[in-house]
């Protein structure tokens, strides 16, 4: 069954790497739903967060292809329940219209929104949350002359992860440590080794 997977990739900070990773998806005609690149917990290491809808089998293979790239250290994939994630949305609305017709205070409370800018001509609200949450506020504001709307890519934290610091030390060692797990994907599939 196809479902939403969040892929987390730890990489070097290198020009052209974004393209190298993106074409792994586009070559297979897989649409990237969301893509975010940011620094990670480890100094000098960047972190890609990529969201796609695919079969687990396909996602596993994609992660192997991503890890094959010279400047990629590690790729993980997780389902929604294995991560904590957020998206940020900005809404620009005409101030007079909203102030007149909407109970702004209720709005801010209900949706956990903030007003980032308030000017005579327009106001910008911001909210973070899951897609449904940011969509809900969008639906509320749409009838009141919404001027601009934008939503960020997903950022996600893996619940079970201990961070990349220790892993990075293993990568930096010329002789990799023997306990370095090479194929944790396979390890999860104990049934493969039913001999």
């Amino acid at each position: 069954m196809k479902q939403e997977y969040t892929i987390t990739v730890y990489t070097e900070n290198q020009v052209g790497l974004l393209n190298r990773i993106a074409i792994i998806f586009s070559r297979r005609k897989i649409n990237i739903e969301s893509l975010n690149v940011s620094p990670s917990e480890a100094e000098g290491i960047h972190r890609f967060t990529i969201v796609i809808n695919e079969f687990e089998e396909v996602v596993r293979k994609l992660c192997r292809q991503i890890e094959r790239q010279v400047e990629v250290l590690k790729a993980y994939f997780n389902t929604g329940d294995e991560i904590v994630w957020q998206e940020l949305a900005l809404y620009k609305v005409p101030t007079d219209e909203v102030a007149e017709k909407l109970q702004v205070e209720r709005l801010l409370r209900e949706f956990g929104a903030r007003a980032v800018v308030i000017r005579k001509d327009y106001t910008i609200f911001e909210t973070t949350g899951h897609r449904e949450e940011t969509d809900k506020l969008l639906a509320v504001l749409a009838p009141y002359g919404l001027i601009e709307f934008v939503r960020s890519a997903r950022v996600a934290i893996i619940k079970a992860s201990n961070g990349f610091h220790e892993k990075l030390k293993e990568f930096e060692a010329v002789e990799p440590a023997s306990e370095l797990i090479e194929n944790e994907f396979l390890n999860k599939q104990a049934e493969v080794f039913s001999m």
């Binding site: 052209g16 400047e71 090479e182």
Partner: protein
């Protein structure tokens, strides 16, 4: 003072930092990496490097090709015959884009290459300058790694990384694009240090003992174990380890076309070729074995045929250095990640000594049947037109299996791979994964430079030869001895065969005319001959082989001969057709 040093360069580890140009740093890197031959073509954006090369010509041989595609295929041929990294120069723009086919070919066939392209001045990047092209982004999908240099100080480290990445792990092509200003820029050079570690790149996965043990247990319990091997054995320089493994466990072994020559043809456990035009037994018995042991191969669709009917009954042990290949096409029971040079001896130590005589006999029975229905007629026809198979067989008798055979793509390639005999590894050079017509002639030139003491015979179809025949000029000028054997059937034979079998004989644009090849090579000062009569064939081949210089022999073969056996596309390997 500096000038004297620079014209006779020996800068490997200068005592004090010295001023050199980026171009000199490139050539110093080559010397430190043991490069002896460069295939290339100059142009505006790579002129500073060529200018520096003028002073290095005694230490670096440069072969001027006639087209950059020829240059990169020559680099591939060099790499495949020598086991070393091929090096190619091209200029920016069209020079660089002409490399793309060769890069794709080298990537899919895991050939180590370092290609240097010139680029416009850094301040002109993105301005649509003369001969500017975004070669980094164009080549990203077809390189193992690529990098653009805009500052000369980066050159020593970047080239060290390039050679390390190209040649280690699963080898592949690397492209380094160097802006003209960086080639010209002088900088303080402190010497060249080879790269042996990149933190984000681990060429070899760690060998897991438990998988070796599980694999050995499966092999020891197997009644009908079957080994299929690919180029990984050659790239890992593990021919001896492989032989020891199959000999101890008594395993029949079949090869992919890139694995060909890793195990001598005459080895009693070599049961033949896999895949679409492979041998009868190896294909049918893939679906009868109980344990399938894949060594350094990647289950290409031309090998597996229909995947959902491929070796479903067997437990699969897959040895590969590239983790992405494990479970990519065929699910493994036990994945043995690692370099087969390391994993095979570990496995050999744990497997029991066995013979599997009856099982091996099953393969021989199929071989006998294939001989009766296909091979005898192909290799020893009594009458009719000359067959491709009998040419290859006659060549075998004369070379005794000692020649390097370079093939192009198509029917002649399948026939040559099926019937050519090999004693030595790295003797079969062909475009396997990409199927690049026009590969053979330039690759044969490179192969001869990579293995100068060996006889190199390029077997080429009349279609493929016409794709890169400009490289006759390279042969003429470089005075390299390449034997060109054109098997001319006056058709684009493989496409014609498919049109005959699957498109009701609608021969759509496969009828191809040829020039007079003997006259053509004569214009390049190369001797040639053409035969169409069986009784002159051996003598003509002997004359070709006896020639000290390059020589072209055209053999007119059956116009509508087909290559059999054949696993039709979309069929299971069990459904292989003998006629």
């Amino acid at each position: 003072m500096m000038q004297a040093e620079l014209t006779k360069p020996s800068l490997a580890t200068p005592q004090h930092p010295i001023e050199i140009s980026g171009s000199q740093a490139v050539l110093e890197a080559f010397i430190a990496e043991g490069v002896d031959t460069i295939f290339g073509y100059p142009g505006g954006a790579i002129m500073p490097i060529y200018d520096a090369l003028y002073d290095y010509h005694e230490r670096l041989k440069h072969i001027l090709v006639r087209h950059e595609q020829g240059g990169i295929h020559a680099g591939q041929g060099y790499a495949r015959s020598s086991g070393r990294t091929g090096v190619v120069f091209a200029t920016s723009g069209p020079g660089a884009t002409n490399l793309v086919t060769g890069l794709a070919d080298a990537l899919i066939d895991s050939t180590p290459l370092v290609c240097i392209t010139g680029q416009v001045f850094a301040h002109l990047l993105g301005t649509d300058a003369f001969q500017e092209t975004d070669i980094i982004n164009i080549t990203t999908p077809v390189t193992k790694w690529n990098y653009q240099v805009t500052d000369a100080t980066e050159i020593p480290q970047v080239l060290a990384k390039a050679f390390f990445i190209a040649s280690t792990g699963r080898p592949g092509p690397v492209l380094i694009d160097i802006a003209k200003n960086a080639q010209l820029q002088k900088f303080s050079y402190t010497g060249y240090t080879k790269c042996d570690h990149i933190r984000s790149y681990r060429p070899k996965p760690i060998v897991r003992k438990s998988y070796i043990e599980e694999a050995a247990a499966l092999i020891n319990e197997a009644k009908k174990p079957f080994v299929i091997f690919g180029q990984g054995v050659i790239l890992g320089r593990a021919e001896e380890e492989f032989k020891a493994f199959i000999e101890k466990a008594g395993l029949p072994a079949a090869w992919t076309i890139l694995g060909l020559s890793a195990l001598p043809t005459s080895h009693p456990q070599n049961v033949g070729m896999l895949g679409m035009h492979g041998n009868y037994g190896p294909n049918v018995l893939t679906n009868e074995c109980d344990v399938l042991i894949a060594v350094g191969m990647r289950f290409d669709d031309r090998v597996t045929g229909r995947l959902d009917k491929y070796a479903k009954q067997a437990k699969l042990i897959h040895l590969d250095i590239d983790p992405a290949e494990i479970d990519k096409n065929v699910k493994s029971t036990v994945p043995v990640w690692g370099d087969c040079k390391e994993t095979l001896p570990l496995l050999t130590a744990l497997v029991h000594e066995k013979k599997h005589t009856n099982w091996l006999q099953t393969f021989h029975n199929y071989t006998r049947e294939e001989h009766e229905i296909v091979i005898n007629q192909e290799l020893h026809p009594a009458s009719g037109e000359i067959t491709m198979g009998e040419v290859v067989e006659a060549l075998n008798e004369l070379t005794k299996g000692d020649a390097i055979i370079v093939t192009d793509v198509g029917q002649h390639q399948m026939v040559a791979c099926r019937y050519a005999k090999f004693n030595e590894s790295k003797s079969n050079i062909t475009s396997g994964g990409l199927g690049t017509m026009g590969f053979a002639l330039p690759a044969a030139i490179g192969a001869k430079f990579g293995a100068p003491h060996r006889e190199v015979v390029a077997i080429i179809g009349d279609g493929g030869f016409q794709m890169t025949l400009q490289e006759l000029g390279t042969i003429m000028q470089a005075q390299v001895s390449v034997k060109m054997l054109i098997l001319n059937n006056r058709f684009l034979g493989m496409v014609r065969q498919w049109q005959q079998l699957f498109h009701d004989k609608r021969y759509s644009f496969v009828d191809i005319q040829s020039p007079d090849y003997v006259q053509l090579v004569k214009a390049y000062g190369i001797e040639g001959n053409s035969v169409d009569d069986r009784k002159n064939l051996k003598e003509a081949l002997q004359k070709m082989l006896d020639s000290k210089d390059s020589y072209l022999l055209e053999v007119m073969v059956g116009k509508e001969d087909n290559v059999f056996p054949m696993v039709p596309q979309g069929c299971s390997v069990s459904e292989i057709r003998l006629k």
